[in-house]
């Protein structure tokens, strides 16, 4: 039994949440059981991911290939657990566990009755499963399917809020995301037309052999994919759906949307760009320059937008737009340091942003106020929540000892290696702007004179979740050891032509 599970672990981590998601609605009446199941599933996923990661680390990064149904590539659908997959799996599991904990016993007022709550959890697990799938898949069409699953569950999560505007935000999101999906599918189609393969490895070989014949088609495919994934991962100026959606969603949903979902699409883009096109093609076509440029614009613009927001969750949402800019910047700089930094930043942002959204959710839930200017004195009344919020903010700004610094450090090293001084400046300016839009919240919460009426820290599971996230932030910032190692190896993998 254990041997079976072990050997099938790569597919197990994907299937398990999907399966539980379908089973869940049958227990809708016993909400405790549902919550327990969800927590257990994410915890199991975390264990599985950890095991896979240790396996990969021991194997010195040789990927574990797993052919679904015994059909090997290029005919069958292949699952490949590489450094990158492990990294992302760990990140997904590590963040979704505290989010699930936070959601426990806490969703009713944001979502509605147990039915709705169960539905929320089902969508949550679906999204988790899809994200895990994105991590391990190495098939282009699988990418599309998983992207669609993720998109639909994201929209579902957004619309699950009983907030009246949530459905509108969800609809906008759905329309744009579907447009994006169409473009992704189109891009994959073009690639398939040229190469005749859907398995990434084979498609890559073929593409690099024949691309000179169809440069324009290759370019159009790249554009389709860029815009498609760009809109889903909220790359400025395609982010327009994000602030509404993320601020309207229930807080745990916002956390997972901002923290993980956006990164899932980014991981897909990374896979498509680096595993299919390959670094040589990216540089020949100048895609990296476009990515760099868009990333820089996103960092600045997202931060400036965030500065102008007064609603807490919207500010955090725009902050996500800015942080996605770092990811694209790192992608565009295209060297091992910058990719390491990009991956690490992705993970640290996932943790940080989840922490921020959860803390914000706790504050909004207890005080009922969602404007920053109304939060005076929250820091005194909800010390632990605000402490977590502060740790996450400081980390996002990029102070040493916290996770954000490590990612930015490598990004800076990468931009130095690329000789891109403007990128360095943008990274730093982004940090300063980040401080400019996050510290006022802390200042208001701790130092403004008039305290809010009556509120206190949330319940035990929520506290555990928050503290867990804060602990991640600090662990990643001080002893990132194996995790950073994974990111480094993944970055090198991406740059090596197969």
């Amino acid at each position: 039994m254990t041997a079976t599970i072990k050997s099938n672990l790569p597919v197990f981590v994907v299937i398990m949440p999907l399966f539980v998601a379908f089973v869940l609605p049958t227990f809708a009446r016993r909400i405790r059981l549902v919550e327990g199941l969800v927590t257990a599933t994410t915890a199991l996923g975390f264990l599985g991911a950890g095991y896979l990661a240790s396996l990969i680390l021991i194997q010195n990064g040789n990927p574990i290939n797993y052919s679904l149904g015994g059909w090997s590539a290029p005919w069958g659908i292949e699952i490949q657990v590489s450094n990158l997959s492990c990294f992302f799996l760990l990140m997904v599991a590590g963040v979704s566990l505290p989010i699930a904990l936070f959601a426990a016993d806490n969703m009713t007022h944001e979502v509605g009755g147990p039915q709705q709550t169960t539905r929320f959890y089902a969508l949550y697990l679906l999204l988790g499963g899809a994200l895990a799938g994105m991590a391990v898949t190495s098939d282009l069409f699988n990418v599309f399917v998983l992207v669609e699953v993720a998109t639909l569950s994201c929209c579902g999560l957004v619309s699950s809020s009983n907030h009246p505007w949530a459905s509108e935000a969800a609809f906008n999101y759905l329309i744009l995301a579907t447009l994006g999906s169409a473009l992704i599918l189109g891009g994959i189609g073009f690639l398939y037309i040229i190469t005749g393969h859907l398995n990434m490895e084979f498609a890559s070989h073929e593409l690099n052999r024949v691309w000179q014949g169809y440069p324009h088609v290759v370019w159009i495919a790249a554009s389709f994919l860029l815009v498609g994934f760009g809109v889903k991962s909220a790359l400025f100026p395609l982010h327009v759906w994000l602030p509404d959606a993320h601020s309207a969603a229930p807080s745990p949903a916002s956390a997972i949307l901002s923290g993980l979902a956006v990164k899932g699409y980014a991981i897909c883009l990374i896979k498509v760009l680096y595993n299919v096109f390959g670094i040589a093609l990216i540089q020949d076509f100048g895609i990296h320059r476009i990515l760099t440029l868009l990333g820089m614009i996103a960092i600045i613009a997202g931060s400036v937008f965030a500065l102008t927001q007064d609603k807490l969750k919207r500010r955090l949402a725009f902050s996500t737009v800015a942080q996605v800019g770092y990811i694209f910047l790192g992608l565009g700089l295209a060297n091992s340091q910058s990719l390491t930094g990009m991956l690490f930043h992705m993970a640290s942002h996932a943790v940080i942003k989840s922490g921020l959204f959860l803390a914000a959710g706790a504050i909004i839930a207890t005080t009922g106020k969602n404007r920053i200017s109304e939060m005076a004195g929250v820091g005194r009344k909800m010390p632990i929540t605000m402490a977590v919020f502060t740790i996450c903010s400081v980390s996002l700004v990029g102070i040493p000892l916290f996770s954000g610094f490590v990612g930015k450090w490598h990004l800076l090293l990468g931009s130095l290696e690329a000789g891109n001084r403007l990128a360095q400046a943008v990274i730093i300016v982004g940090s300063v702007l980040c401080a400019a839009y996050l510290f006022p919240i802390i200042r208001v919460a701790y130092f403004e004179p008039t305290p809010v009426a009556d509120c206190r820290d949330p319940g035990l599971p929520q506290m555990i979740a928050l503290i867990m996230l804060a602990a991640w932030v600090i662990i990643l910032g001080v002893v990132p050891g194996p995790f950073l190692e994974l990111a480094k190896r993944a970055a090198i993998d991406l740059l090596v032509m197969k």
Binding site: F144, S167, E168, F171
Partner: protein, 127 residues
């Protein structure tokens, strides 16, 4: 001009897909009725499906059912068609979900006109 015409004649499914895509996009952009937007999106997706399936088509190819008698027969590529089946399923579920959301929106705003909803929302925000 001649080459353009030639390629048009040979690759007409692709051009059809392109035209469909543009029609779909135009609909999404210009129609303010939410249903029509949704239809526009469906048209765009159809364009992609068409492109995919056309890519799998081989002129003179037979239906890809293995014929033991004629092993060297030319089949069309079955994979794209199979994939598009999945694609259509996805598309349908998206459409269904979108329709559900439109209903919710209608319940809330009392209209399915995007422009009107935007105005109403602005009023709410300003209040």
């Amino acid at each position: 001009m001649k080459t353009l015409l030639d390629s048009l004649m040979v690759n007409y499914p692709y051009f059809a897909a392109m035209i469909l895509f543009i029609i779909g996009a135009f609909t999404v952009l210009t129609r303010s009725n939410l249903f029509k937007k949704l239809i526009g999106i469906n048209i765009m997706e159809s364009a992609i499906f068409l492109m995919f399936i056309a890519a799998g088509n081989i002129r003179g190819g037979a239906v890809p059912i293995l014929d033991k008698a004629n092993p060297k027969a030319l089949y069309i590529n079955p994979l794209p068609s199979a994939l598009m089946l999945t694609g259509i399923v996805v598309s349908v579920s998206v459409t269904a979900f979108a329709l559900a959301l439109i209903i919710k929106l209608y319940q809330f705003y009392g209209t399915t006109d995007a422009r009107r909803i935007a105005e109403l929302k602005k009023e709410v925000a300003s209040r």
